[in-house]
Symmetry: C2
Subunit: 270 residues, 2 copies
C-alpha cells in the first residue's frame, strides 16, 4: 500500500547535533509530523570547511534522507544552507527549506533603522549568505556579519553559562557597540543554547533561525496541502555517521528531550 | 635510478595543522632531511571521533604518504597515535613513530613521586593511551588524564594569550592543585602553542611530545643507518584535503615559518 504523500516524514539534516534545535522548534510547530533526522557526526563541523567540501557532504546527506521517503527537506545546517542550498534544491524533488532565508526574512521585516547584525560560523559569515538574502528583500538594509568560531565548541563542551562564555560572547560582540543595530540574527543552530548570554550582552532583539524555519516549514506544508494532523504518536528516527551513544548524550540538551531510535550509517566513505 | 634509502623523505601526517609543531621540532633535530607532510584538513578534528573512524582515516593518510616513498613515518596526531598506531604499524613497511610513546617515556623517566598528569583531546584521554604507555614502563606510576576540548579551537582562533585562554586553562587544570604531580605531558600537538600559559598555571615541568618525538625519530634513523646529512637544500612538501590557502594561513604560526608547495588531494571519498 502506497503511503499518502501527507503521511510521509519531514526530513532534517545537519552536520551534527546542532540541527536538533531546529527539530525542537519543528516538533513544537508541527507536533503531528513524523520526523527523520540525520546528523553527519563523523564529519562535523562543516563550519570551517571549503564550500566544495560542504556541498559534497550536504548532497550525500540529502540523498540518504531522501531515500527514506520524505515530503519536505529541512537543511538545518547554516553552513550547508549558506553554500549548498541551490545544488540541493536542484537535485531533490521535494520542497527544500534552509535556515538562512527564514531568518533573513524575519530580520528584514523587523528592522527600522535598516541595520542588522548576523553571527555565525566562519564559512557562513564569509559566504555572505544572510547579507545576500536580506539585501534580496531590501537592498538598502546594512548587514554586518560577525564570525564566532568558539561558540560551537563552548556549547558542545556544555559551558552554556558562566564567566568564560560571557567573556567570549562579549569579545565577539564588541562590534555591536559601534552601530545602532535593530536585531541580531543567530545564524548557527548551536547558538540558541547560549541565547540568554547573547541576549544580555547584545541588548537588542534576537532572531532565532530555528523558530523562523519551523514556521516556514508549516507554511509550505499548509500551502501544498501536505500538513499532517491527528497523528497522536508521531515517530522520530535518528541517523548518525559516528557514535550513537555520544549523539544521544550530547543531543539531549539540544532537543530538550531524550533521544532513542538512533542508527549508525556510512556516508561517502567516511 | 633508484633513490638510496637514506635519501628518502620522512613522512608526517596529522588530522590538520597541529602536526606542524612536530614537523618544526623534526626540522630542528634533523635539518638535512626531506619531509612530506599530510594534513587531513577536510576531516579535522579527529579528537572527538570514534576509534573506528579515527583508524579508518589514519590508514588512508598512512597509505597516501607511503605512496610518496618514505623511510620513516611519524604519526603526529595524538588521537591517531592513541587508537590507531598498532594497525598502522602492521600495514606500513617502514618504521612508524607515534607521539604518545616518546612523551610517555620522557615522563616516566623524570618522575620522582610517581605522579604524572596528561592533557589531551577527549578521545586521547578516554583511550588511556598515555597511561598504558607510562605504566608499561613502570606500573607503579599514577597517571591522571584531563581532557581539554577547548584548547584546540582556542589555538585555531589564534587566541594564544590573554584573559579568556588563561581562564580556560585554569578551569581545565584545576585538578592539578589536588595532587603533587611531577610533570604535565602536553598530549596534543596544538598545546605547544599555549605552552606559556599552561606552564604558568600548572607550575610544574611540561613534557612536549613534539620535542620527544623528534628525538625518537633521530634515534631510529641513526640506529638503522638511515640518517641523512649534508643535504643543504632539504625539500618540504605539503598535502592537504581541504583549502591550501587556509592551511598556509593557519599553519604558519604552528610551523614557525612560511608554507608553500601545498597540494590538495582527495582521501577516502571525503
Amino acid at each position: 500500500m502506497k503511503v499518502p504523500e501527507c503521511n510521509k516524514s519531514i526530513g532534517i539534516f545537519d552536520s551534527g547535533v546542532g540541527g536538533l534545535t531546529v527539530m525542537k522548534e519543528v516538533m513544537r510547530e508541527l507536533p503531528a509530523e513524523d520526523i527523520i533526522y540525520l546528523g553527519d557526526t563523523a564529519r562535523v563541523p562543516y563550519g570551517a570547511r571549503s564550500p566544495e567540501t560542504v556541498t559534497k557532504y550536504s548532497l550525500e546527506c540529502a540523498r540518504f534522507i531522501l531515500s527514506k521517503g520524505i515530503k519536505l527537506l529541512i537543511v538545518a545546517c547554516n553552513t550547508s544552507s549558506s553554500v549548498s542550498l541551490g545544488r540541493i534544491s536542484e537535485e531533490v524533488p521535494v520542497p527544500v527549506v534552509g535556515v538562512v532565508n527564514p531568518g533573513a526574512r524575519a530580520a528584514a521585516f523587523m528592522t527600522e533603522h535598516k541595520n542588522i547584525a548576523v553571527i555565525g560560523t566562519e564559512t557562513t559569515i564569509r559566504s555572505g549568505s544572510y547579507e545576500k538574502a536580506i539585501k534580496a528583500i531590501d537592498g538598502s538594509i546594512n548587514v554586518t556579519g560577525i564570525a564566532c568560531p568558539l561558540f560551537v565548541p563552548l556549547v558542545e563542551e556544555g559551558w552554556v553559562e558562566g564567566e568564560i562564555t560571557t567573556l567570549v560572547v562579549r569579545k565577539y560582540l564588541a562590534p555591536l557597540r559601534e552601530g545602532s543595530f535593530d536585531a541580531l540574527v543567530l545564524g548557527c543552530t548551536h547558538y540558541p543554547m547560549i541565547k540568554d548570554i547573547i541576549s544580555s550582552v547584545a541588548a537588542i532583539p534576537l532572531i532565532d533561525s530555528a523558530v523562523e524555519t519551523a514556521k516556514e516549514a508549516r507554511r509550505i506544508l499548509l500551502e501544498k496541502g501536505l500538513l499532517r494532523e491527528g497523528n497522536t504518536g508521531p515517530s522520530r528516527k535518528f541517523f548518525v555517521t559516528d557514535s550513537p551513544d555520544k549523539f544521544a548524550r550530547t543531543g539531549m540538551g539540544f532537543l530538550g528531550s531524550g533521544i532513542s531510535n538512533i542508527t549508525k550509517i556510512e556516508l561517502g566513505g567516511n
